[in-house]
Symmetry: C2
Amino acid sequence: MAQAAGVSQSTVSLVLGGKWPGRVSPATAAAVHDAAERLGYRPNPAARNLRMGTTRTVMLMVPTLIAPFFGSVHAGAARVAARHGFGLVVYPWPDDAGPADSPFAASREAIDGILASSMPREVLAGFPGTPVVMLDSDPAGAETTVNFAVADGMRAIAAHLGALGHRRIGHVAAEPDQWTFQVRGAALAAGVAALPGGALTRAVTSIDIAAAKDAAGRLLDAHERPTALVCDDDMLAAGAYKAARARGLDVPGDLSVTGMDDVLLATALEPELTTVRLPAEELGAQGMAALLELLGGGRPPSRSLPGRLVVRGSTAAAV
Amino acid sequence: MAQAAGVSQSTVSLVLGGKWPGRVSPATAAAVHDAAERLGYRPNPAARNLRMGTTRTVMLMVPTLIAPFFGSVHAGAARVAARHGFGLVVYPWPDDAGPADSPFAASREAIDGILASSMPREVLAGFPGTPVVMLDSDPAGAETTVNFAVADGMRAIAAHLGALGHRRIGHVAAEPDQWTFQVRGAALAAGVAALPGGALTRAVTSIDIAAAKDAAGRLLDAHERPTALVCDDDMLAAGAYKAARARGLDVPGDLSVTGMDDVLLATALEPELTTVRLPAEELGAQGMAALLELLGGGRPPSRSLPGRLVVRGSTAAAV
DNA sequence: CTGAAAGCGCTTACAG
DNA sequence: CTGAAAGCGCTTACAG
């Protein structure tokens, strides 16, 4: 490549690295660009990585890629990474991976930073010293976090149901011991407590349709049946629909149901689900932007992305 | 590291690379392993890549990661890759990516091979000479392909509906000009033609619930209404349910509906969907195994993975 | 059985 | 403004 352009290797490196102005004549720079174009030349990333001691690759850790939510997070993160010339490697953990350690161990030296979504903080213990941005996680930690304003979302749901006259509300709560679900639970409790005569019951479930159906069923079979079921996410709401149907209850005629996330499922259900839209792709994008800033030596602040209540057909006036 | 073990760099490399038997004494090898363990030493992948001219990284190209189907493909591929010490980089294309070329261009030199799922073959033109295995693609090409036996799946659906007495069948067909959908269409047509008195109508739609609802609606509004709707995938079936409900038709009392894929959505719907289970994770795993074989100098044969008809609540005897 | 040496292709002081 | 040289950390002939 250097001889094709009739210059030295150093000059090629300077020009292609964009560091030439003031050090290489414009004419020479143009010649280098021309030759590179003509030959389809691209710098060898392995050599560059070795020399620089950096890989321009970031790891995204998510609980699973099978939930479409995390596919969106990946899309947003990948878009921002690509724009800055960074690669993105995803590791679903622990759900889909085989032996959890092997990919980790292999990549410890191969990445510059970590974007970890919805993960217990302990998972990062294996990567001491690696810059990290946490997504959808407890902001009390030392790392920069990017979160959704889920408490606001839950309050919006409580207010929406309250305005429709609901007072006896059931919470179909996700079991995982994650920060986001703890916040959702607390915000809902506060929102219902603020309703005159508000009363909250709760059933805990794993994030699984069949399990959610059982949990919702327990709530619906109580002596004083709730008139609305607030579910911690859209998938749980699908289970709530099933529990309602199994008992001959019409949604939203006899029972209002809400979700959270607004994934594809929300509009696949009948009736379509009233839920809070959480901008998953934006989460990935802002998280990657923060990580890139961190890698560049900055101190990006933690931040929180607002959700938006989307009212569809699953909520109606209390009977 | 070398001095910590009291040996030369070459010896470390030989031992850690597993090439020591017969060349290094067992005692020395043990000492090297000990020191590596103690220091938490891991070879620098960039140096290795530079020296070897290989990256032990494979690119997975999928249309999108937001469809859970491709999340499963990724999981299977990543599992096999990790087991062989390979990394996996995913590029959703063209759906989620920003500027399509930028990540491609950047990674051309950074990967050893490509696993491309459900993509037009032209996309690979930008990677001349890179070993490729195609997933869910026309096996007529030169590359090794790993596919689902979708024709068998469609025939199983046609036979199932035929046995239930259905004769007027509507096909909610996916529009994308993909090999898999062409095969599905042809197999269904043959299966219905084999039914005495069988008659097939068809409406084409993009892979989108609202569009599928419209397409299914056109079929249902025909003079002689079909008694069963065969959908090219589960998401289209969700649209078919909506079209049925909008017309006061009960599924499966008035109308049977089938899907294909068996993703999460299939059991979220009410009634749960009769569909053909396509082993997406297995597709990714077998595709990666084939690619690894190809990279190792082998000539892996193309293959086809069987699906399985899963009968749930959305099909019943024809009225 | 073990080590010294070359070289993979970059980037970055440094000399001119 | 331009080029020669060093060195990043490996792997692999090669010599002993």
